[in-house]
């Protein structure tokens, strides 16, 4: 029973806000506890055995992450937002007036705002592809890309409506039209299906640890060796230099140049434990659970009068609205029925507005969710409709 691995999960309560953050398995909690109890020291500088042990654990965690998404390099950040900002600042530095950036209306604010704001500063065109039939309008998206496109940044899975973009098809088509750098926000993807950076041909890939059964405060910017070289350093301090003298500074090379200061060692170790948990569970089991829950939920929700499901081909997240009940009221009533859902604009206002709405409700699944959770949700939705009748 997978639910046993999650101390916070119990029969009395249905947690359906996994796109915001997932719960943590004992394996992850224990790995962090064990690190602090038995191996804690600063890394890469202590000349003693304990520091060496901590350094090895941290380095192994990085290898685990690299292997997990088949990346050439992995930089640890505090979350996907920081990773995406790091790329945006890095890549935008060299853009000129007349260049353009292409993205989609499905983006989370973290993969929208950095690019939009820097585009305005740099007088670079910011092109946003919209929706067709409540998923990405692929034709328009590709038509926005030309020789002057320097960056294409796109989410793998929408955090608000759960739609998966067909990146294995789209990225080769993008590459035919331009030499743009390809940035993928894989935050809502990595805990639901196998993501392979080399296969995708992405230059940069970002995700957060806490949305994939890992701890908060650790995120990842994965990249190729070549794309890493194109990023300028952003933070200066300890750990990212080899020598500092009056004559000059010799910087550390490779990823170390991007991780100034003591990193989140425990976070990286916790993230590696989360990856082990995912691997041990297996994507076959995960995908089967997701697809069963999505189809069962959609089937049951469609029986409710006035309920509209947003998007299509959902991976593990379903956005919806109910006629004449504001999503916030819905969430409050569901909370009293012991069901946790998200309501609002989900940090994706351009998307919600493009659907003609100002707020939506959202359920999103994790590996511990089951049909009973959905049954409880449906009862709660019926209760809300009763209250507002």
């Amino acid at each position: 029973m997978i639910r046993m691995h999650f101390p916070i999960i119990n029969k009395e309560f249905s947690y359906l806000d996994n796109a915001a953050t997932t719960q943590k398995p004992s394996q992850v909690i224990d790995a962090i506890k064990n690190y602090y109890e038995e191996h804690n020291a600063n890394i890469d500088r202590g000349l003693y055995e304990l520091s060496e042990r901590a350094s090895i654990l941290f380095a192994n965690a990085r290898k685990t992450v690299e292997h997990f998404v088949n990346a050439e390099r992995v930089i640890f950040t505090k979350n996907a937002t920081e990773a995406l900002n790091l790329v945006a600042y890095g890549l935008m530095k060299n853009l000129r007036k007349g260049d353009n950036i292409v993205t989609t209306v499905l983006e989370h604010h973290s993969n929208y705002l950095p690019w939009k704001i820097l585009s305005e500063e740099k007088k670079v065109e910011f092109r946003v592809a919209g929706l067709k039939n409540e998923k990405l309008d692929e034709e328009t998206f590709l038509s926005l890309i030309d020789k002057k496109t320097k960056v294409v940044t796109i989410t793998y899975v929408s955090n608000s409506i759960g739609v998966k973009n067909n990146l294995t098809k789209l990225i080769p088509l993008i590459k035919k039209k331009s030499n743009a750098k390809i940035v993928v926000d894989a935050t809502q993807a990595v805990s639901h299906f196998r993501v392979d950076m080399r296969e995708l041909q992405a230059d940069y890939l970002a995700f957060s640890g806490h949305k994939m059964y890992g701890p908060t405060g650790i995120g990842v910017l994965a990249c190729t060796v070549k794309s890493l070289e194109e990023l300028p350093k952003l933070f200066y301090g300890g750990g990212m230099v080899n020598s500092v003298t009056e004559k000059g500074i010799e910087y550390a090379t490779d990823i170390k140049a991007f991780e100034a200061g003591t990193p989140n060692i425990a976070g990286a170790i916790g993230l590696a434990a989360a990856i082990d948990f995912i691997k041990r569970t297996g994507f076959v089991t995960i995908e089967e659970n997701d697809s069963q829950l999505v189809s069962y939920a959609i089937n049951e929700m469609n029986k409710i009068k006035g309920l509209r499901i947003l998007g299509t081909n959902q991976v593990s997240t379903i956005g919806f609205v109910i006629e004449s009940i504001h999503p916030h009221d819905l969430a409050t009533i569901l909370d009293s029925e012991k069901v946790a859902i998200r309501a609002g604009h989900h940090c994706a206002q351009p998307l919600i507005n493009s659907l003609g709405l100002s707020a939506t409700a959202r359920i999103s699944f994790g590996i511990y969710n089951n049909k009973e959770d959905i049954d409880r949700l449906i009862l709660g939705l019926k209760k809300a409709i009763e209250v507002f009748a």
Partner: protein, 123 residues
């Protein structure tokens, strides 16, 4: 379900003082960034509130609060309104508001104060 009492739901479905005054002397708009609730206050006042309307969209709590508050402040002086605080608003609502929903409950009051020039109200 203490929040969704009959009078709240009734005002959500059939709001009072909804609309916009053509010859308004004060107006302000404010939204609740976490949920997209939005209120616009439109009023006529010199020293006292002569007339007041609100428009906007959002959850039952924010919208019912706007009906209740606009009704309450008619004829009140600007000084009296500036003294209204969160506890007064909760008392007017007559319900228990969950902590996560306090912003919804306070939106109308904050928008009203902002329209009357209260610099303490954050956008």
């Amino acid at each position: 379900m203490n929040m969704y009492r009959h009078h709240i739901l009734e005002l959500y479905k059939n709001p009072i003082n909804k609309g916009r005054l053509v010859d308004e002397t004060h107006t302000s708009t404010k939204s609740n960034p976490t949920c997209g609730d939005k209120i616009r206050i439109s009023l006529i006042a010199s020293n006292k509130i002569e007339d007041i309307r609100f428009s906007g969209e959002g959850c039952a709590i924010s919208q019912a609060a706007a009906s209740i508050l606009t009704e309450h402040v008619k004829g009140k002086t600007i000084n009296e309104i500036m003294k209204l605080d969160g506890d007064d608003m909760l008392e007017l609502l007559g319900i228990e508001v969950a902590p996560m929903r306090l912003k919804c409950a306070m939106l109308a009051l904050e928008t009203l104060k902002k329209s009357l020039g209260d610099k303490n109200v954050r956008n």
